[in-house]
Amino acid sequence: MDRRKFLALSAVAAVGLTIAPALQPAFGATKLEEEVSKRLGVQLSQIKEVADIKLTAPTIAESGANVPITVESTIPIDKVEQLWIFVDKNPVPWIADVKFTPMNGQVFFSTRIKMGETSNVRAILKLKDGSYVMATKEVKVTAGGCG
């Protein structure tokens, strides 16, 4: 191998090494992102956060085994199709999904969920026009409740 080739090759290698770490996030999608794209068919980054979904959850939960959450929205029920609830850092981020019909009268769902550690809770709504909107809230957990 002559000097010219060697320099060209090492230049390529150097570029490759510097680019590789930058590409990492694209391959190492988090569990949450995988779960969202699997269940919803869209990327999490494409979902807008809006103010007209109200996600009520405690700021600090003493026990992660029982975190009460409530999702309400002023979006009319006949424009809403489905609701998903995710917890970012749970081993299984998907908690539940709810299909609504106009007979519900309004968007309202309340339940109690488990949280392994402090993380964001997400409520994602699918609207009839095919778009997705969401609300997030961070819940601090002092004792985990998984397993």
């Binding site: 081993p91 299984v92 969920i113």
Partner: protein, 108 residues
């Protein structure tokens, strides 16, 4: 209470067109798949998977859930009532259990 026993609570009376809250509690362990810390054996998941809310046999809502919902799940949904009728919930778990529970609403 036995696994699968449920409590369904709705207001006894409502006005026509009113949005009422339907609350339910179901007795269920809701355990995820995990390794038993004592024996090291794999314990399969045991949780409710699906719950349907019906009003006069018309489907109102379907809730799909995993083991991320707390043990003895509590849930609340809303229902717009236009006529008297029967609220019914049907729920099942991943081991083939299936139960239902009904309650009546009088609309004036």
């Amino acid at each position: 209470m036995a696994v699968g026993a449920g409590i369904l609570r709705v207001p006894k009376e409502a006005k026509k067109g009113e949005i009422v809250r339907v609350q339910m509690v179901i007795t269920h362990p809701m355990t995820p798949a995990r390794k038993d810390p004592q024996t090291g054996q794999q314990v399969p998941a045991y949780n409710l998977t699906k719950l349907e809310l019906l009003f006069n046999d018309k489907l109102v809502s379907t809730v799909n859930m995993g083991a991320g919902v707390s043990a003895n799940p509590f849930m609340a949904l809303t229902l717009k009532v236009e006529e008297s009728g029967v609220v019914k919930i049907v729920y099942e778990d991943n081991k083939g259990g299936k139960w239902d529970k009904t309650a009546e609403i009088k609309v004036s």
